[in-house]
Symmetry: C2
Subunit: 715 residues, 2 copies
Amino acid sequence: MSDAAAPTRFGEGPLSRAAARTAGDGPVDVHSAWLPPEAFRAVGSRRALVCGAGTLVGTVRHELARACARYGGTVAWRSGPADAAPEDRTGAVDLVLALSTAAPLPAPAAEVAEECRRRHGAGALGAEGFALARTGDVTVVLAEEPAGLLHGLFHVVRLGESAFGAGRRPERHRPAVRLRMLDHWDNVDVHPVMGQVERGYAGGSIFWRDGSPRGDLTRVRDYGRLLAACGVNAVSVNNVNVHATEARLLTDRLGDVAAIADVLRPYGIRVHLSVTFAAPVVLGGLPTADPLDAGVRAWWAATTRQVYDRVPDFGGYVVKADSEGQPGPFTYGRSHADGANLLADALAPFWGVVHWRAFVYDHRQDWRDRSTDRARAAFDHFAPLDGRFRPNVVLQVKHGPMDFQAREPVSPVVAAMPATRLAVEVQVTQEYTGQQRHVCYLAPWWSELLGFAPWGDHRTVAALAAGEGGGLVGVSNVGDDPFWTGHPLAQANLYAFGRLAWDPRLDPAAVLDEWIGLTFPPGPAGGHDLVRRTLHEMMDDSWRTYERYTAPLGVGFMVRPGHHYGPDVDGYEYTPWGTYHFADRDGVGVDRTRASGTGFTGQYPQPWRDVYESLDRCPDDLLLFFHHVPYGHVLHDGSTVIQHIYDTHFAGAEEAAALRARWDRLDGLLDPGLHTRVRERLDEQVRCAEEWRDQVNAYFFRKSGVPDARGRRIP
Amino acid sequence: MSDAAAPTRFGEGPLSRAAARTAGDGPVDVHSAWLPPEAFRAVGSRRALVCGAGTLVGTVRHELARACARYGGTVAWRSGPADAAPEDRTGAVDLVLALSTAAPLPAPAAEVAEECRRRHGAGALGAEGFALARTGDVTVVLAEEPAGLLHGLFHVVRLGESAFGAGRRPERHRPAVRLRMLDHWDNVDVHPVMGQVERGYAGGSIFWRDGSPRGDLTRVRDYGRLLAACGVNAVSVNNVNVHATEARLLTDRLGDVAAIADVLRPYGIRVHLSVTFAAPVVLGGLPTADPLDAGVRAWWAATTRQVYDRVPDFGGYVVKADSEGQPGPFTYGRSHADGANLLADALAPFWGVVHWRAFVYDHRQDWRDRSTDRARAAFDHFAPLDGRFRPNVVLQVKHGPMDFQAREPVSPVVAAMPATRLAVEVQVTQEYTGQQRHVCYLAPWWSELLGFAPWGDHRTVAALAAGEGGGLVGVSNVGDDPFWTGHPLAQANLYAFGRLAWDPRLDPAAVLDEWIGLTFPPGPAGGHDLVRRTLHEMMDDSWRTYERYTAPLGVGFMVRPGHHYGPDVDGYEYTPWGTYHFADRDGVGVDRTRASGTGFTGQYPQPWRDVYESLDRCPDDLLLFFHHVPYGHVLHDGSTVIQHIYDTHFAGAEEAAALRARWDRLDGLLDPGLHTRVRERLDEQVRCAEEWRDQVNAYFFRKSGVPDARGRRIP
């Protein structure tokens, strides 16, 4: 984090137009998400003192100033050790936000700093952490670095009045994961098939439109503010599938990237760039992109230096290589370590990192060949390379071995690379989880993934991602939609991603509760408790509802090919994509055992290599991912596979209908535009859930011939 | 046909650039199709006399002049009765092409005219017919109208030397069908999903590019020449799905249509236009398009008058109404007769016709509802309207009740509308028959359709289409591809369409033989017999080969949704499109009987209503179209349904491989560019046929559990 980076446009003021639009009582053009003016009522009605200097401290001051202008509080500022500015003489304060380096600190802050040092030692807060404590009648936020102060401010905003309650115990907060990043799959040009945003379900891109940067960066600035307020600290601004125009962001269109970096910098968010491995050829005119070629290495070094000349705090590169048609080191007979290290060496002088995606598999697989297993691919490609990557290579691993399904096991790569920095990648954009037309709160799913213990001990996925220099990466669900995410309730996924990246141990329901409290503050119509209760009822279990009415028992896919929305049980069954369920008249599922299948279970350490291998011990929700079983196979709950399919699909569709009924209770209690938008999407969710129910049930009834034990209608 | 129409650009000369490009020995830019220079050798080496005047007679003269310039013959011209031009004094001639109105006729022509009158009576040749006879050493072509003379010329070209052989018996030729039309599904704007040409497999449009007319009409002129030489006399120049830009061709972009009409007119081809039923609203700014509204009627009348002011021989309108999202009279609670008659009334003063498509069905069908049957839709909608259409309405009926499958029964609408003019629509573009990547000579399929006898007597489909004012319409397979049709062998489908429209009784193999003789004249490399034999071996049965490896026993579809290429057995099974096979673990097929199914069989007259109803009498190749049967059902050849599926799919894929092996024999005997193009497509056909084989076989093996009796590998 470089707080002393190039000049920014911050002078234009953080009170962006979008925020201004939402500040009044008139029609809302862009929804304020979890930062409505009301969220700042507690801090905005206090007397605050800010101690410290720099861009991010300026952001803290401006946030407070805006809140105070609305709610009657005051803001004073002491810029640094030698500074005795007039604002410092305001007298009594309720809230101090201070950098520990801004000594001499005002008394309450000095007291907290001393206590913190005593309890945790020097440097205990780190680059982004902060301490929060009450001392007397003053609430103190202390940080060692400016980013920590900003995070501390937003923590106080989340706490609201309770931050100022008596008897509050001291807290120390530091992010568990260093890299908390959102990858945008935004195209600069509108792609003829994938559009402006690949797998985007919220309109256009906030960065790009029709081949050009959007002239107005207001939305980008607002976005940065929202991300800072949930804990994200990095953004990649273009699709990992890098087409011709996007490739040029690295060179002659670098200015477009710099402009984005300038507006995100005040929120402590670094910009990263997806690059094509073929850049030396397509941009540099070199005859090769061979990572061991001296000319190629020189080209990347020079090009990267130019990037840092323009963007001194540039985060680094994101690369999808040798995957789904993207170029990569295989073209030159080199390994992925060779490829990643090439870029890492170019970035190292500037402390940049390369996010090298492990999503490498054969997408021209022969469906007739049951021995090839796409689930094996990432491990087979990357595990042998452990220890061969430079320290500034972050291997970015999709959470599961397949592709962001609603249910998959954790990727075995996570446990296979102890000598490699890892980032775990989840998909905030709901490609396979309802495309922001369905309510699907994903935090419980991510929480489960992050809590998975590959060795059955304390070493969870979260702990691995939290290891030195690790990361959690989400594919962004944001677009230029007025509600940011198409489905207003999908904002909760973006919020929860940031919060879980900061602290993976957070309870998803508690995170949702935070989000509800911020996003839906008590309004004039009352009913706040009903809103809160209803949203919990709708969202807490919504991912499992989605799972129930879609592909059963972990088998995955069954979506319409191409756009991946809605059911098509055989849609991917006879394709080259490696995504099969092998249903026949007798049974269903993929045999990935060592005993008789593809051997994928052997990629896990104990205990999971044996748990997954065992038909008895394998968790039911992953049964068909690991085993091919007859329809009559009895699950742990005593139900057969076929009856489980029927039961969950009837139940899931019923639950979708219940979501809509619950939402109807809130009519009149919420912004009408938001209520209508959600209502429309719920109609679609109910329709689509019934379609899933009927197609999946009909498919398996036609194949198995087994009637529903409860005699319900299967079409 | 108006030979006295508006001035044309014919003065630019019929020796178009494309033809010129193919005249030399250099690289071929645009393939000459069935009119290479060599096709004119016989006429070009004769002394010809042309008698008559007008644009089309001018075309005859120019065609002869070009041929003679190459092959050493001569052309003389007598323009009309009072004309004694110097050309007339050339003395001896080998070939006379004369309008019977150009009296006094030269002696050989007068002799033929007298004989023709004596045998057939006056007016025996009609608007487009001609007589051909040898008298002494002279070959005479006699016509009553200029279009007949042009058709007669191309007939002589087809005959080649044999037209000048001794002992040739007199012939009289008249087209069986009056409207022989190609519909272009070309968009003016590039449609975001469908592209420049909807269901086009031959590159862009010859008419339009990126929202504008193509500046150069050379290709259009060449196209008109090819069409005239196979018998087509009408073209619609834009897609029946009329989008915003295309709608304006009717009004402010009418000039684009007029320009096309001008270059097609010299070849006797009228231009038609697809219009949107909503035109009064979207173009005229009226509040309604209600066909009974006086303002709407006046708008159509005035608009149509303006069309004829610009294009005096304009053919008329083509309309897809209330179909797949297109607007129509249903919006206003009116019938399709009301809708069609509205346009017919506007066109009647100018002798124009409206082609009103009968392709109306519910494309939002619920797949769960087995009582709704898309196959019934056209009959249900239109049969009750018989007798209610104006005389200049042509009801344009797809040949089958579904949608251009490789196998369907004939549409029962054809037999249900005795008081309505009918055009039968076939699909020359290979949407469902291999998309011009597969060899699939369609004439045998069309021939079978045209020969179908709905009442089991002499009244064939061809006879019905040949009835007063009927027509045969093909969806064009032509684009801006250098070979016109993508797959060079798909040219044969275009040629055969014209020839069968002229004379439905022609033998498809004989038509193919004509096409081979014209397109592949003996070359310096020899091997002409091998070329001819090989192409017959490859193409004569290619449609049945395609049928064998795709959907079995008439059940249809099983294609990938959207683009309709390649197999996806369940691709349309759970969709709203009404295209199902209902395969389960016990059997497959659609019960369309009156006894237990949708009752579709009742739409046929006797004998077919009972033949199709009967499981025993129903032809095997339509078995699954009409019946749902167990896999063990025994076909007339003694095979079971499931074994038939396996056998035909193994056989079809083997035949595809044999096609390629045959083609390889021709290497070195044909233009290398053409040979390579076909070879590449054959590779794809072999691959795709194997994919069809394996997917269909695997699908039915997984469902039925019945092994192949011959033990072949089913994946």
